[in-house]
Symmetry: C2
Subunit: 319 residues, 2 copies
């Protein structure tokens, strides 16, 4: 399957083509340029909803329950599970297979996990690229599930149209989440496992945090939904709040802003990656090796070396 | 304290100046350029030993025990604990305080944790910068301790002269570690908690993995040391193997190669960061915003946008 064929089949929603395209994204394959160019003009229709929260809050259970809720509305849905801290898919894929069982016979559901391997941040275009593939394939809704609450997770969640932050009682999660900057990206909060002790404490803490922030009257105030995803409780309400937020984005014009932000992130990541390859490529005739030797020997400081390298790349350091 | 004063005080080993310099590194402060330039010509003396391994293998206990072993040899030692997955120091700092108690009155020991906050990989110069500060301050040995076994941890550990990979019995760590590419960067293995069940299994697994790799006769073969760091057992032997490896690096000329590699990484990270700032800076007149809008609207593909942006930065995309 060459690139134009792959683009056509992805657009037709072909599962094998989808799987192959996302694997190419994972691997940073050379064909990506042609594939992304081919898909680019057929994107922008899907709603992207991010789910984040600490391990143990019930993220995959919640995502699964939301898949059911979205399907019940007659919408098609893709799930992209991203693990930004791991270079491997092994564990996540096992989880996928278990989850897939429920939806295996439903052509309106596609579930895929993606490792974000490679250089630190080197593949930070990977999530936007994968979203582009799923969007072009015609899914109405894409759920992006990230692992953990580190900075990487916050950034990936922040690329969604709507970001849902999950908490659970008794894990010190709510306060933790606020610290991790998750509060800044949350559009909707869900307190999952709400039938457990401490759910009300978590709810109160979140309410206080949401109340603390200054907002204009027109600004979106993140609602907090209580869910027991394992029993499908509160999940329709959760999806309702996500739809409210989407409507708010459309009315306020913020949807375009968020999507421009996602594209900005994607383009910037590509530029940095191209420059990194040019500096560090095997057999590249950049002066990096010689400069690194001088820096290591204490003969030149690293910033002076960086300035020289920038000049060599044709970019004026003083600009 | 201005930059030249700070440089002088760091070189004199002043603790407040050290703490301040590393905080400036953490925050990506503008003064870094001048400070690093001032320190650059006074570095290259310290031995840098990296410690990595999954949470629960006893990393800080081992580092602490190694500090005692190094001090017993009459060498001064700094510990840099890096958490590449967290933008915050909170937890690590608490750990520091506990650990500091033992060495609080010893002027030959300095312990500091550093968050690696900020953009994905954006501060990947942070660890080399911090090493530069501690090196210039005159410590004989710098122990770099990283958290987890993800790609980021492997990269940071790989910046050391010698990398020690810690395993523990019954955690499936050894196999896990091999998968994570840790085997590739390990110069010395330590099986910690070696008094527990399963230590021999872990030892055997590691031996098999080490044996599987093809090596020239002159090439270093990672030794495996059994330790019970909490009881100071095997720690002197561990340090002995680290010294053996250092001698090997010096004799083979590989020390210079590794240090050039670290400098290369540092310079490259600075260049990428300068370019990122130029593309994304508030009020920057780069065309990124406009291009991102076109990409978001499906009017231009992200790679074509990246090429235009590269041209604008003065770097020819075709180069």
């Amino acid at each position: 399957m060459n690139a134009p064929q792959l683009v056509e089949r992805v657009r037709g929603g072909d599962r094998r083509a989808l799987a192959r395209a996302i694997t190419l994204v994972e691997n940073g394959a050379a064909e990506l340029r042609e594939i992304m160019a081919g898909l680019a003009l057929h994107t922008g229709r899907a709603r992207v909803v991010g789910f984040t929260g600490s391990p143990g809050v019930g993220k995959s259970t919640t995502t699964n329950a939301v898949v059911r809720a979205v399907r019940a509305k007659g919408l098609t849905v893709a799930v992209l599970a991203v693990d930004p801290s791991s270079p491997f898919t092994g564990g996540a894929l096992l989880g996928d297979r278990v989850r897939m069982q429920e939806h295996a016979t439903d052509p309106g559901v596609y579930i895929r996990s993606m490792a974000n391997r490679g250089h630190l941040g080197g593949l930070s275009w990977a999530t936007p690229h994968a979203l582009r593939v799923l969007d072009a394939a015609g899914f109405d809704v894409i759920l992006v599930e990230t692992v953990g609450v580190g900075q990487a997770e916050v950034e990936i969640a922040g690329q969604a149209d709507t970001t849902v932050v999950l908490c659970a009682p008794g894990m010190g999660d709510s306060v933790q989440a606020a610290k991790a900057g998750v509060l800044e990206v949350a559009d909707v909060f869900a307190v999952n496992k709400a039938d457990r002790d401490g759910a009300k404490v978590t709810l109160r803490e979140l309410r206080q945090m949401v109340a603390m922030k200054d907002r204009d009257e027109a600004e979106w105030k993140p609602p907090i939904v209580m869910t027991v995803a394992a029993k499908d409780e509160g999940v329709d309400e959760l999806w309702g709040r996500v739809e409210d937020h989407y409507a708010h984005l459309e009315e306020s014009g913020e949807l375009a802003t968020r999507r421009r932000e996602r594209a900005r992130h994607e383009v910037q990541a590509i530029v940095l990656d191209l420059l990194r390859a040019r500096m560090g490529g095997v057999g590249a005739d950049s002066g990096l090796d010689g400069l690194a030797g001088e820096v290591a020997a204490g003969e030149r400081d690293p910033y002076a070396a960086a300035d020289l390298l920038l000049k060599e790349l044709g970019a004026d350091p003083g600009a």
